[in-house]
Symmetry: C2
Subunit: 323 residues, 2 copies
């Protein structure tokens, strides 16, 4: 690491280095002397004192809101939840109607309070300390509340979510044979997670008369109906471990699919109906599993899977794309 | 949300509410007058000013280190990387030899500098402000450096990693038929990620003469050799879409496996050798994919998969467990 030293200290590099420190995102509100609500997005919030309970944040001295916050008796800090990225953007922009359309309550000192946050701190403005081009506001917490909502995180100039480590997870185990299968292999983890999920769907597909491969073909045809076998084969070739043609023939005999005179494959009305029922069962299964876990953990898994799929896609033909 | 209001403000609940705000984790160091290095873990760090460049953090007035930090001319902030959880724990405990065994450099003002961090800020101690039971330290940044290491995050009393959102990801697409397959289904995402990964392994398994199902059996036998067909079937039943016995018979004919007189199935020496080669290829494939992505994104995906597998495991028999 090459150290940046003053006076050659590069402001852009300094900002980037500060961005290495992950933070939550807050919206801080107050009531102006004329009664209008004021609010801004800040990630400079932090705890200070437990007894008395105090928190701090800092505001640029050139901010339009400086006069309001310097003179008000109270302000409130809203720690944003993971699904409040829009609110962060709204209060980060300058503008007059930041509160329009929002559900706003009145807190201590008539401070505007926003809903749906991870936590809120209603504070009496206590100290204003010198901090270079910013003023440091320290407030004593007069009231607070919190929910279990997952937090919005900001890191390296981007929004993020917090993936909590789980100390109760057992350590990954290796095979007794060096180089054998171990639990930390990505291929093992992906396969285990997929088949563990799929097990709840497979029973219903089997009961409907479908093998795993046939179920994959039927589900794909609900996304895009009327596909030439070659296109279907190109889109599903990396999934199926068997040739597509005999599979389609077999599904045709069973009344799931049919080919039109142009050679495009379609679900039959009954095949489509049964496929949509199975998909609904898969969605219900997903809901059931995620309810045992948590919505936010599920959202994080999906986010990482989406990023993995995008980052490692070798260029498979797109199932949803027009042929 | 029921608001907690003073004077009934509950300290435990207040701490929990503060924990809703995610932060990075820092270790802050200084040199005592007697020359000994001093350091402590803090998540109260934050940026203050850009011009002049200033940062702050706060320290309990009852801290043993208060005298050192109150009197020193310089201190340094180390923003910890995701793999520095141990360092966080080490500097959070009271003790005399926090620096023992660590690679320590000397910074401005002889401040001890630690290695391997996401960012470091060497600061001249500038202001000490009142903050209830804490003192707020504001320092002017004299030098800093950073790396691209993923940050260690602290949230709700636990360590976490930051999963960055990716604004370049295309929005999930739905089928043209209501209720049809859409890209946001967990089952789709898991299957797509698994098969997209597996495609790079399947070619090699096929070249070795193995179907997907046979490859799964061979890989499982590298983790636990000498298994009765019933136990193997119980452990792999949720993965395989075909009966195990004919599959084992076929692999026996091909010289991959054999049964001992007690009816336990083993890899043959040649079968084991070929299986370990395929596993090595799968590991190399994982390394190749993750190098196109990033180590930290891969670690996050694995973490979420491990949590998903643990949270949704219906009680499958354990492949690594002694029979």
């Amino acid at each position: 690491m090459e150290a940046n030293t003053a006076p050659a200290l590069d402001p852009k590099a300094f900002r980037a280095a500060l961005g290495s420190f992950a933070t939550g995102v807050t919206v801080i509100t107050a009531r102006a002397a004329d009664g209008s609500p004021v609010g801004l997005t800040a990630n400079s919030f932090n705890s200070v004192s437990l007894d008395p309970p105090m928190v701090l944040w800092s505001l640029a001295k050139k901010s339009h809101s400086l006069a309001v916050f310097s003179n008000c008796s109270h302000w409130a800090v809203h720690v944003l939840a993971a699904d409040q990225e829009d609110l962060s953007g709204r209060f980060a922009r300058s503008g007059t109607d930041k509160f329009s359309g929002l559900e706003v309550a009145n807190g201590i000192g008539d401070v505007p309070l926003l809903a749906g946050c991870a936590a809120r701190f209603q504070c009496q403005s206590t100290f204003q300390h010198e901090g270079g081009d910013h003023l440091i506001f320290v407030g004593e917490v007069a009231a607070f509340d919190r929910t279990d909502r997952a937090p919005l995180v900001f890191h390296a100039g981007r929004y993020a979510m917090a993936a909590q480590r789980d100390p109760s997870l057992p350590p990954a185990r290796s095979a007794r044979v060096a180089g054998g299968l171990d639990e930390d292999l990505l291929g093992y983890l992906l396969g285990r997670a997929y088949f563990q999920f799929h097990q709840g769907v497979r029973d219903k597909a089997r009961a409907a008369g479908l093998t795993d491969a046939q179920w994959i073909v039927a589900a794909a045809l609900t996304a895009r109906d009327g596909v030439h076998a070659d296109d279907l084969s190109a889109a599903l070739g990396y999934v199926l471990d068997e040739p597509l043609s005999p599979l389609l023939q077999c599904m045709q005999s069973d009344g799931w699919v049919h080919a039109d005179p142009q050679g495009r494959w379609h679900l039959t009305p009954s095949g489509r109906d049964r496929s949509l029922h199975l998909l609904a069962a898969a969605k219900a299964h997903e809901g059931d599993l995620l309810s045992r876990w948590s919505y936010d953990e599920g959202a994080l898994l999906k986010l990482q899977l989406q990023k993995f799929i995008a980052a490692t896609n070798p260029g498979f033909p797109d199932l949803w794309h027009e042929a």
